[in-house]
């Protein structure tokens, strides 16, 4: 029962926040208000799905890190030139039609397929299992991720360096 209420509540916040991100005329509101709302609601959904660890990761990396970076980018690109921070959209009708088509297509596919109705049993040692998986069968992916992070760091430094 609590899970059902939590799901609908979080679904409401998530969809509302997402709509705010794509429709808000003020980009700053989208970045500091609606995007964190949507991301935290997603994290709460992770919690409802018995993954509290991912809830923490989501809060730290998304709601903490990504939002901060986006706010920095907005301040650096909008405020310094004194332009208004308002923004407009284009092709609203075409975009809405395409997005609706994607949603209907995916939903129709999901509804038609038979999915496991009951949740499978969950082990209580999720973090241990996660750690073992990361260092066992997924060790190569983890190492590649480390390489990617170094490359991203160097790339961001290269693009953001001071002019010669």
């Amino acid at each position: 029962m609590a899970e059902t209420v939590g799901f609908w509540l979080m679904a409401l916040v998530l969809v509302g926040g997402s709509l705010g991100v794509v429709l808000s005329p003020n980009l700053f509101h989208a970045a500091v208000l609606y995007l964190p709302a949507a991301l935290v609601a997603t994290g709460a959904l992770f919690w409802l799905l018995d993954s509290p660890f991912l809830f923490g990761v989501q809060l730290l990396l998304y709601a903490g890190g990504v939002v901060t970076i986006v706010v920095f980018a907005i301040m650096l690109t909008e405020r310094l030139v004194g332009e208004s921070i308002r923004q407009s959209s284009r092709y609203v009708f075409n975009g809405a039609v395409l997005a609706l088509a994607v949603f209907v297509g995916v939903s129709g596919f999901v509804i038609q397929r038979a999915v496991p109705a009951a949740p499978a049993a969950v082990g209580g040692e999720q973090m241990q299992a996660l750690g073992r998986a990361l260092l066992g069968p997924f060790a190569l992916a983890l190492e590649l991720l480390a390489v990617l992070l170094v490359v991203a760091l160097l790339g961001a430094l290269y693009f953001a360096r001071a002019e010669d």
Partner: protein, 99 residues
């Protein structure tokens, strides 16, 4: 809640993010739409991990979250670099590569 509810919710968020990517003029707004789409994918992965009792979904979610953060950092660095040169980040004005 059944798995279908989570999948449909994720599809809805994905569609909203796609709408944002298609309609936003500001490059930062487009990146926010991409964030929403990747977020929807993460919901799918965690839901499948939960309902199939497979730890792989959680591992993939962690990998996608890390990759997304790296993508945002590089993407916004590119946006700032473009802004330095062109003094605008309106996607409509960035058409140097148009044939």
């Amino acid at each position: 809640m059944p798995l279908t509810a989570y999948l449909i919710l994720a599809a809805l968020v994905f569609a909203i993010g796609l709408f944002g990517v298609l309609t936003r003029r500001n490059a930062v707004g487009i990146l926010l739409g991409i964030e929403l789409m990747l977020n929807a994918v993460n919901i799918n992965l965690v839901a499948f991990a939960r309902f199939r009792a497979d730890i792989g979904g959680l591992v993939f979610t962690m990998l996608t979250i890390a990759i997304t953060v790296a993508e945002v950092a590089v993407g916004l660095a590119i946006v700032i670099a473009i802004f330095r040169v062109r003094r605008t980040i309106e996607a409509d004005h960035l058409d140097l590569l148009r044939g």
